[in-house]
């Protein structure tokens, strides 16, 4: 990677530090979900389907997914801000490779997501959520969060570049948001009564993110879910990143 690309990444990270509203609000929303849902329906955690760790550990993957989504909207905003201010024209008229313009805010989003997920993991640990393989579980959670966040961030950036409209990027988050709920979000599949709901959950990639995380936390899901989650998210993150980077040629077209 060229020095120029590294400088753009550094600038994007500094911008995120100066304006951390996306990752901070993502963390806030996740903590809100964790506390409200646990207090509201956590009483069902004694059921055997939730395992030994109770409802809090079961709910924790939702907070990881929502945090990654919340903190992954900064790249599209940053790109849009640079387009509006005309700053991209200046960078365009430099010897930097075009992909670096888009890659830089995506990397910054990834850093933001990883930082906030680390904070959330720490909060979760303090609240008593188990990490069955210790540090390896934490690394696994960070990996899943990063891949999921990159998928959302890159999709939003790719749509924003093509539509030249920040709302295009926000629409991606809005479209993906329901996927968080058509899944084994609040109860394991054994407790979901509706057949059509189960069918959607089965094909919903978020289900694998949740179950893969549950394997890493309290071990209430099988390891297969984790491997499948990694595979699905590596594919989706790569495809979304490719989609965003290909758009770099269209920024000023």
């Amino acid at each position: 990677m060229s020095m120029g690309a590294l400088l753009l990444i550094k600038r994007a990270i500094l911008q995120l530090i100066r304006n951390p509203s996306a990752p901070v609000s993502g963390l806030g929303m996740s903590l809100f979900f964790l506390i409200v849902y646990n207090e509201g329906i956590g009483g069902i955690g004694f059921l055997p389907e939730f395992g030994q760790a109770g409802y809090l550990a079961f709910l924790f993957p939702l907070t990881i997914a929502s945090l990654a989504m919340g903190s992954s909207s900064a790249a599209a905003s940053s790109l849009q801000r640079d387009l509006q201010s005309g700053y991209f024209r200046r960078i365009y008229l430099s010897p930097l490779r075009r992909y670096a313009f888009v890659l830089a805010p995506l990397v910054a989003d990834g850093v933001g997501t990883l930082s906030m997920t680390s904070v959330l993991v720490l909060v979760g640990a303090l609240m008593g959520i188990p990490f069955q393989m210790g540090f390896l579980s934490v690394l696994g959670i960070l990996l899943l969060s990063f891949l999921w966040g990159t998928t959302i961030s890159a999709m939003a950036a790719g749509v924003m570049i093509r539509s030249k409209n920040h709302q295009g990027g926000q629409m991606v988050t809005m479209l993906v948001f329901p996927l968080l709920f058509f899944s084994t979000t609040f109860t394991p599949k054994e407790l979901i009564g509706s057949e059509w709901f189960l069918r959607i959950a089965q094909f919903n990639p978020v289900t694998y993110l949740f179950e893969g995380s549950r394997f890493l936390l309290a071990g209430t899901a099988s390891a297969e879910y984790f491997y499948l989650a990694c595979l699905i998210l590596v594919i989706s993150a790569s495809a979304a990143t490719g989609f965003a980077l290909m758009g770099s040629k269209r920024i000023l077209a």
Binding site: M3, G4, L7, L8, R11, Q15, R18, D82, S85, G86, Y87, R89, R90, I91, Y92, L93, S94, P95, L96, R97, R98, L252, A253
Partner: protein, 260 residues
């Protein structure tokens, strides 16, 4: 024989279906030449600058700047160009110093060289008091100065100046031209200028291209243009207005906004 700084052959650019910004432009600029690109609003000057700098892809024609295609070999070419566009294109949250050092670094200068160059340009453009200010806190004129300074950080071979002095006060304009002229004399860089201040074109360039409705109507020395229209010694502005009126009467009323 030297390679031309700019070589355009039958370049066309249309916006949408109806707006023909550039109709069939062929132009050759030798290295070291100072050329004014003149014409009324909407004549296609900024589009032509965009095509030459790789910001705009032409529909047809061949474009070579320093011998390379500005779209296909953009990254190789950009380090040889300095562009002052009509809009200031600044990062509102970065300071004057940050802008200049960052610009130098992305053009491959070391941190130390970039800082030295930044100091030099801050002095040249009288921005000493603004060094630590964010771009959004600068006056319009100082934003313009910074924008101009940024185009010169990496010692370009060709300067594209698209209405560079708009918003500058007379002192600022004099200082700007003094900096540009001494840079041009020192390096022998080519310069393509668009401006509505015709005395600037007259004073700081020696060739001119007159663009009307996306077509070149005159190409050659400014002194020859002035004598072509009328033998008596008049200002370029008088001759220019006379010529454009004549073209308009020949072509019918010009469709303002027909070209971008």
């Amino acid at each position: 024989m030297n390679q031309p700084a700019i070589d355009l052959e039958e370049v066309k650019k249309t916006y949408g279906k109806a707006v023909q910004a550039l109709r069939c432009i062929s132009l050759n600029v030798d290295p070291g030449t100072k050329v004014s690109l003149l014409g009324p609003n909407g004549a296609g000057k900024s589009t032509l600058i965009g095509v030459m700098t790789g910001l705009i892809r032409p529909d047809r024609g061949r474009v070579r700047v320093c011998g390379v295609d500005p779209i296909m070999e953009s990254t190789a070419l950009q380090s040889r160009l300095g562009v002052v566009s009509q809009t200031n294109d600044l990062d509102p949250l970065a300071t004057v110093m940050d802008h200049l050092v960052f610009q130098g670094r992305i053009f491959g200068l070391s941190r130390k060289t970039a800082r030295g160059k930044a100091d030099e340009l801050i002095h040249a453009f009288s921005l000493e008091g603004e060094r630590a200010k964010k771009a959004k806190a600068l006056s319009g004129g100082n934003q313009r100065k910074l924008h101009c300074a940024l185009a010169m950080v990496h010692d370009p071979e060709i300067l594209f100046l698209d209405e560079p002095t708009v918003g500058l006060d007379p002192i600022g304009r004099a200082r700007f031209w003094s900096t540009i002229d001494s840079y041009q004399n020192r390096t022998g860089a080519s310069m393509i200028l668009t401006t509505q201040y015709l005395e600037e074109a007259d004073r700081h360039t020696d060739q001119m291209v007159l663009l009307i409705e996306g077509q070149i109507h005159y190409e050659g020395k400014i002194s020859a243009f002035k004598t072509k229209v009328q033998a008596s010694p008049c200002s370029l502005e008088d001759r220019y207005v006379e010529w454009v009126h004549e073209m308009e009467s020949l072509q019918g009323p010009m469709r303002r906004g027909d070209a971008q």
